[in-house]
Amino acid sequence: MIEKALSGNRLYWTWLAILLAIMGVGGLCYVQQFNYGLGITGMSRDVSWGLYISQFTFLVGVAAGGVMLVLPYYLHNYKVFGRITILGEFMAVAAVSMCLMFILADLGQPMRALNVLLHPTPNSILFWDMIVLNVYLFLNIVGGWVILNAEKKEVPPPKWVKALIYISIPWAISIHTVTAFLYCGLPGRHYWLTAILAPRFLASAFAAGPALLVICALILRRYTAFDAGKEAINKLVTIITYAAILNFFFVGLELFVGYYSNIPGHMHTLDYLFFGHEDGGVLYDNLVGPMRFSMFIGMAATIALLFPKMRDSYCKIGWLCGAIFLSLWIDKGLGLVLGGFVPSPLDYYVEYYPTAIELGITAAVWATGAFILTVLYKVAISVKLTKEA
């Protein structure tokens, strides 16, 4: 089937070429980082995780979001998602691949990455995260590919693949729960030390993942003959809306607990993220703008989606989904991870700014993800279109 990715129009090849160019530049950046060390990034003794780990955290959510198609289709036999479930599974493949690349990019000694397998350490959440991510990648590659192949040959998929699909549903929850456990099991980091972190992660994942999927479906509709169908898009938008409402409700709960309890440790990061913190005449507020912007566009877009009038055109839906995706990317892909480090456990305010090299590597990983996604979508759509023709 992979040969289907080798034929395409000029637009397809141009897009792949652009992605390859970004990957090339990012690759050169990585060579620099590999030779010098992580000191080439903006990370420091106080903010010891930066863009790489925050992107990883956000993308685990995008990967988990695919389950919002798989679950209704396979568990509730919701036929409308039949055409696009494969898009959800392949998006999960691309997203998990990016997660693994971001982790590798973040290691101080990448050559020793296999130590996690050579010295399995069940008390470390990172060990379990490695397991759930890799298994989820496997479940989605195999599940998606086998079912697509069966579809191409017009035979029913083998029975065993059904088992994989059913396992993949709770597994999607597990990848984001375990990723939340990376953070919320740490003493002394008040911003992360909250039982609602995993639910909050899942709510934002079930909004961000499907939002990206809707955007992809709309792009495919515009540039290819593949149409996901109005009903499927509408249903997805409903899922996104409710998940986004839950997400902002959870954010509100955090704000309530922090500010009503009046415990300094619980308020410090919230202060830093939303209002800025002044210390010795210096104002630490580099995330205030993005965080306020994130809350504003996220909530505005979510409220807008509640009105049927705002859903009556693909164009509006596309923009609103884009706004929700961007909002959640800022909230989780920047604020959540960086906020955990500021202030430091010793109450120092050290801000983090990524360097150009770091941005280049980050862009390259995103481009690689887009490349994987494009190729997989090309195969899936070619199969579906030839069958339908």
Binding site: G108, N115, L186, D347
Partner: protein, 275 residues
């Protein structure tokens, strides 16, 4: 109908019993002891583990009396362990095993309200607490950070993959990361960032985490930790077995009022401060 209700009640009953019993069972699994000793109450109070548990008592007043004492400790430790110095204005790459903090930063969750002026300026020596219940050991995915039988929290530099999960986990900011190569050499073969290299102790490579190792290598030779020696003739830092009632630390702890950093977190630090 009737049948399903009975089934539900049965299930509910079993779940309730499981719910009540599980935490206790889980606790005994985790700790190997189901019941805490009756001795203490409040946060950070628990039965002391048996066997050796090395710890420190830092007498802050001694450091206040002798302004150079802190720097002598830092120099002794950093020279002994080839800790690189990237310069004062390079905070980003900074590596430190032992350093001074103000009271407010070393004890941020203590009340800072109307503290006496002398306290605010006290130099508080801070280093790895070698916690009895170390979050960094729990977080490490490769066992590069581990606790040995004597209660020392140690690092295997050769196993560390540089994920820095331990840095996120440590509530005391005691860990440093080698963001760059600390052992770069000048043309004449001397180290660029290590002024007086100690040939008996290794240098590190970039990409690994490091921290105070309680001078494990000196203890093995029957010596005291370098910072403790540097404090002599004062007793600025006292070192010994917290579980040995006859050790000097135990004696001081019995006699003096001491505090620990962030005891509410349950990490059970092995450093006690006489303020």
């Amino acid at each position: 109908m009737d049948n399903s209700r009975r089934k539900f009640l049965k299930l509910a009953g079993v779940s309730a019993i499981a719910g009540i019993a599980a935490p206790a069972a889980f606790n005994s699994l985790l700790k190997g002891e189901a019941f805490a000793s009756g001795g203490g109450s409040g946060h950070g109070e628990d039965k002391a583990p048996t066997g050796k548990r090395y710890g420190f008592v830092v007498d802050v007043q001694k450091f206040a009396a002798d302004k150079d004492l802190a720097q002598r400790c830092i120099n002794a430790c950093h020279t002994t362990h080839n800790v690189p110095d990237f310069g004062k204005d390079n905070k980003k790459d900074e590596i430190k095993w032992i350093w001074t903090e103000t009271f407010g930063h070393a004890f941020p969750d203590h009340s800072q309200y109307k503290k006496n002026t002398q306290l605010v300026d006290l130099p508080i020596m801070t280093f790895c607490n070698h916690c009895d219940n170390p979050p960094c050991v729990r977080a490490c995915p490769t066992k590069a950070t581990f606790k040995n039988a004597d209660g020392m929290v140690l690092m295997d530099f050769h196993r560390c993959i540089g994920c820095r999960f331990c840095m996120a986990a440590c509530p005391y900011g005691a860990r440093s990361f080698n963001w760059r190569n600390p052992a770069v050499k000048n043309e004449d073969g001397s180290y660029k960032y290590i002024r007086r290299p100690n040939l008996d102790f290794p240098t590190r490579m970039r990409g690994v985490v490091e921290k105070c190792n309680m001078c494990a290598e000196r203890l093995a030779e029957g010596k005291q930790p370098a910072c403790v020696d540097a404090c002599r003739p004062t007793d600025g830092i006292i070192f010994g077995d917290l579980n040995d009632p006859n050790s000097e630390v135990s004696k001081v702890l019995r006699e003096k009022f001491t505090i620990q950093r962030k005891p509410a977190l349950g990490t059970k630090p092995s450093i006690f401060y006489i303020i």
